[in-house]
Assembly symmetry: C2
Homo-oligomer: 266 residues x 2
Amino acid sequence: FEFTLMVVGATGLGKSTLINSLFLSSIYEDGKYPAAGTPNKTVKVQNSTVYLVEGGVSLKLTLVDTPGFGDAINNTKCWKPILEYIDSKYEEYLNAEGHVNRSTVVDNRVHCCLYFISPGHGLKPLDIEFMKQLHEKVNIVPVIGKADTLTPEECAEFKANVMKEIENNDIKIYQFPVDEFDEEEEAQDLQAQLPFAVVGSNTMLDINGKKLRGRMYPWGIAEVENPDHCDFIFLRNLLIRTHMQDLKDVTNNVLYENFRCNKLAA
Amino acid sequence: FEFTLMVVGATGLGKSTLINSLFLSSIYEDGKYPAAGTPNKTVKVQNSTVYLVEGGVSLKLTLVDTPGFGDAINNTKCWKPILEYIDSKYEEYLNAEGHVNRSTVVDNRVHCCLYFISPGHGLKPLDIEFMKQLHEKVNIVPVIGKADTLTPEECAEFKANVMKEIENNDIKIYQFPVDEFDEEEEAQDLQAQLPFAVVGSNTMLDINGKKLRGRMYPWGIAEVENPDHCDFIFLRNLLIRTHMQDLKDVTNNVLYENFRCNKLAA
Ligand SMILES: Nc1nc2c(ncn2[C@@H]2O[C@H](COP(=O)(O)OP(=O)(O)O)[C@@H](O)[C@H]2O)c(=O)[nH]1
Ligand SMILES: Nc1nc2c(ncn2[C@@H]2O[C@H](COP(=O)(O)OP(=O)(O)O)[C@@H](O)[C@H]2O)c(=O)[nH]1
């Protein structure tokens, strides 16, 4: 099984920690993460491939990083290298489709883009601009990074603000399809949780003999896998267990199709 | 007693909440804060004056806000309106000194600039640029906002990174004078605490009959006035009790003096 996941957001939002937490392995080791500590002047797009076993299934996961995004003093068009990368993968696929036996075409298209939002008042101008530029190119799944910065009340209010701003700006983020759920209300619960507020941690803590992933503060432990603390488990299940195929289908049947039509029409 | 405090930092870093906490009153009411929710396209510099009683002394506090700083996609020279404001106050003072009885000159010069840093890996390019542009114009006191985002280990590491980058860039932040301390080691402790990591809260919580200012998370309460949780008390004492006069003296004897000399030499 193959999947390409892109991760976008300013430095320090907890992206590499979250990726390590999601895939339960130190894909990014401390300090080895490309952007650690030194924001780049320009945006680089780089990828790395990992072979994992998830739920008994072997997964070839390609992670696409975008260090430098949003980090400069002037971030005008800093999404451009990202847009070009996505288009280049569509281009590669289009050419491959035309030449080789379809069943052997390697699919390097970006199936999902996790866009990290910093907790604050609402979306920043760059967040809105990025999503407007890319929502018709790739499945955007916005996540609130470092969600242990928010109290439950602030989190609910922030999520509502973000979704309202997404709607006001006609941004089409990835829609988790509702027919996959057994219950109507389960699907509605999901909609109410967007965007997912996540906490990540590279640290396994030993609490009363129980091992858990979390962040140890003097006032308590924020647990990554506790649904009362954040939406990590929610996101993990949707991304890896239930919706990975749908993300690939939408990429192929809708987003790539748009690219192909525009290309052939031009 | 008069004092002018400027507050600078990107939207959502907890600035207005910290100011309310520092002066124990809702100077900025929820939603009335100039920049709430809507990052400005350009940087505005605006001030408001409050009359407070601190430790039995009546204080005329002028707060200078800089909504819009660092919020745009392109933040090139976004510090310029701030620099111009500070210079204009030096200009006003210079003219007033020349015309009226010195003892009746109103001192509207900025005595201290609290610069908010977002917890992450280290300083961002804009942080470094701002401090380089303004460290010879105003007393810069860097603070780490929303410090409850950091575990104690991360906080110590982040502070060390920030101080190293400040040193590497020859940035001269305000030096808390050591002779004001009874003990040599008290002064050293202070140096080790820089920059101050602060948590603010508009909420008074009632915990077991005890009223305290804090942030209530599902995993515990981050207490603003608990020195094991953050440096709020440290900053508050230095700013309001012990070093307010020194901040004014340095502004008058060093920073304003530089302005005056450059002006007369030109
Ligand atoms: N408060 C909080 N801090 C986090 C979280 N995840 C990571 N961090 C910390 O934030 C800093 C930056 O994390 P990192 O994953 O390297 O961010 P990246 O630059 O976006 O990849 C590190 O000190 C992490 O320990 C989180 O969920 N909450
Ligand atoms: N985690 C955390 N959040 C805070 C803190 N202070 C304020 N906030 C929250 O951050 C958001 C923005 O705060 P605000 O003071 O308006 O930020 P400003 O835009 O910099 O003035 C609000 O939801 C606050 O409740 C803090 O110390 N820690």
